[in-house]
Symmetry: C2
Subunit: 257 residues, 2 copies
DNA sequence: TTCCTTTCGTTGTAAAAACAACGTACTTTT
DNA sequence: AAAAGTACGTTGTTTTTACAACGAAAGGAA
């Protein structure tokens, strides 16, 4: 109990706020703590919630069910982590996953409305930033997943990492299985494709350290050259029809083209 | 000029706010209007912005450049549409697209900080809702794209639409090419797969009206049966390692498993 | 109606991926 | 140090997809 606010201090929502201030804040926000015995459901598919949750003790497990009825663990939640904030931020959004207590757990629930009304600018900024930041990550993932071949998926991902790290040689935060899962491809097939890409002189790698040999110049200090050769094909039928990353930037989700 | 606030009325950010109130609001928010001649750049890849934009006149075009340097049109923006709100909501987020004026255009720019400070609860709620809602859509798309085969992608998507419409028979908002683009598969291959699924008795369709024949009961009135057969395989290595929809629900983007 | 365009399904072929199985190298445990 | 476990690459086979090309059907415009 004494550690509770120290754990909350680690939550992305409260980044930069001291434990003692969090304590006051939670009072103003009418935060509610609930206990969940091991094996119980914290949230169920089909639920609607107006509160976001922060795990303060124990461990949770996010489980989905796909169209065939197979259940898959999406992720594990550890103390200090925020969850359900997206569903809580959309009116009447139906939760599409189950959240189960993997161990005896405690969750601090905060109503999003309370944050907006009484949380203060800093907290609201934080919440908005967390959700918008997740948005960027999802978009990036879609950009990779939209590629048709494993090679293209890999190049899309590796190019992104290269640009982010600002160097042709960089480390990735995945092992092979993790990367294959992230790109939704078969591990061994991906491994084979990596080999072929190395053979073709596109990349080099050892363990999780990759080097990408692009065509354009790449100044280690300044990032990708602005003169990187471009194949501008805006007016091709394919380009005009492509909805590759629809909604990445604006709000066109109508599905019409 | 006189129509300006009527156009803004249609913006998702101001849903439910009258044109006259918007006029006052924009003043308080120190909104700035800028003109962009046809062919000029509204935003460029690599930029950072602290303002979201609303197009009030003209037309914009969102263009990306992929790892190979090919430029693709992601979407077109019409008057009343919001854009760049996600990048503007994340501190120092680097914009990954170009925004070009397709015609002579006017954009109303609003600083996100102004919205948070002076926009009032309603506007902040709206902004948060828009971004969180987009988040849900992106997650859904990732769920479909993560499927390995075209058949699975289709079933994932069609099952979602079925549940959403609450009926085995439903219309989808895509034509074939649109659906293929959304699922990032080849149109003709998808068409062929749809035929096979029809042959196999999984689905039926005519034009954009589909019927899905699942195994479980499906009560037209009440939605999917809670007793839908489940194949719970939580403890399989595959399930435990799958990062299929990582970040859908919580904030595990570390990439580590 | 006739012509033209768009949409959709079909087919064959070449390319790519999934899958399963296995060997090796590297780590961790005992 | 030996044993056990894990991560990674490789290979061969089967399945699936992309791609290109084509024809039929539907819808619009002249």
């Amino acid at each position: 109990m004494e550690k509770k606010f120290e754990i909350l201090e680690k939550c992305s929502l409260f980044r930069g706020t001291k434990a003692e201030d969090i304590e006051n804040l939670l009072g103003n926000l009418h935060a509610a703590e609930r206990k969940y015995p091991k094996g119980s459901f914290v949230l169920r598919q089909g639920d609607v919630t107006d509160s976001l949750g922060i795990l303060t003790e124990g461990a949770l497990r996010i489980v989905t069910e796909d169209f065939a009825g197979n259940r898959n663990i999406i992720s594990e939640i550890e103390p200090g982590e925020l969850f359900a904030e997206v569903f809580a931020s959309v009116k009447e959004a139906v939760i599409s996953v189950d959240v189960e207590a993997e161990a005896d757990s405690r969750v601090t629930w905060i109503k999003v409305r309370e944050i907006l009304e009484n949380g203060g600018e800093k907290l609201v900024t934080s919440l908005l930033g967390v959700i918008a930041g997740k948005n960027l990550m999802l978009n990036r993932k879609i950009e990779h997943l939209s590629r048709r071949s494993t090679r293209e998926k890999l190049l899309s991902y590796l190019t992104y990492e290269m640009r982010r790290k600002g160097s042709r040689t960089f480390d990735i935060p995945f092992d092979r299985q993790g990367l294959a899962d992230y790109l939704s491809v078969d591990r061994s097939a991906m491994s084979a494709e990596l080999s072929r890409m190395k053979r073709d002189g596109l990349i080099d790698y050892r363990k999780s350290r990759f080097t990408l040999y692009g065509e354009g110049e790449f100044d280690e200090a300044t990032g990708p050259s602005p003169d990187f050769p471009r194949n501008t094909a805006i007016h091709s039928a394919k380009a005009e029809k492509s909805g590759i990353i629809e909604g990445q930037f604006c709000n066109n989700f109508s599905g019409k083209r």
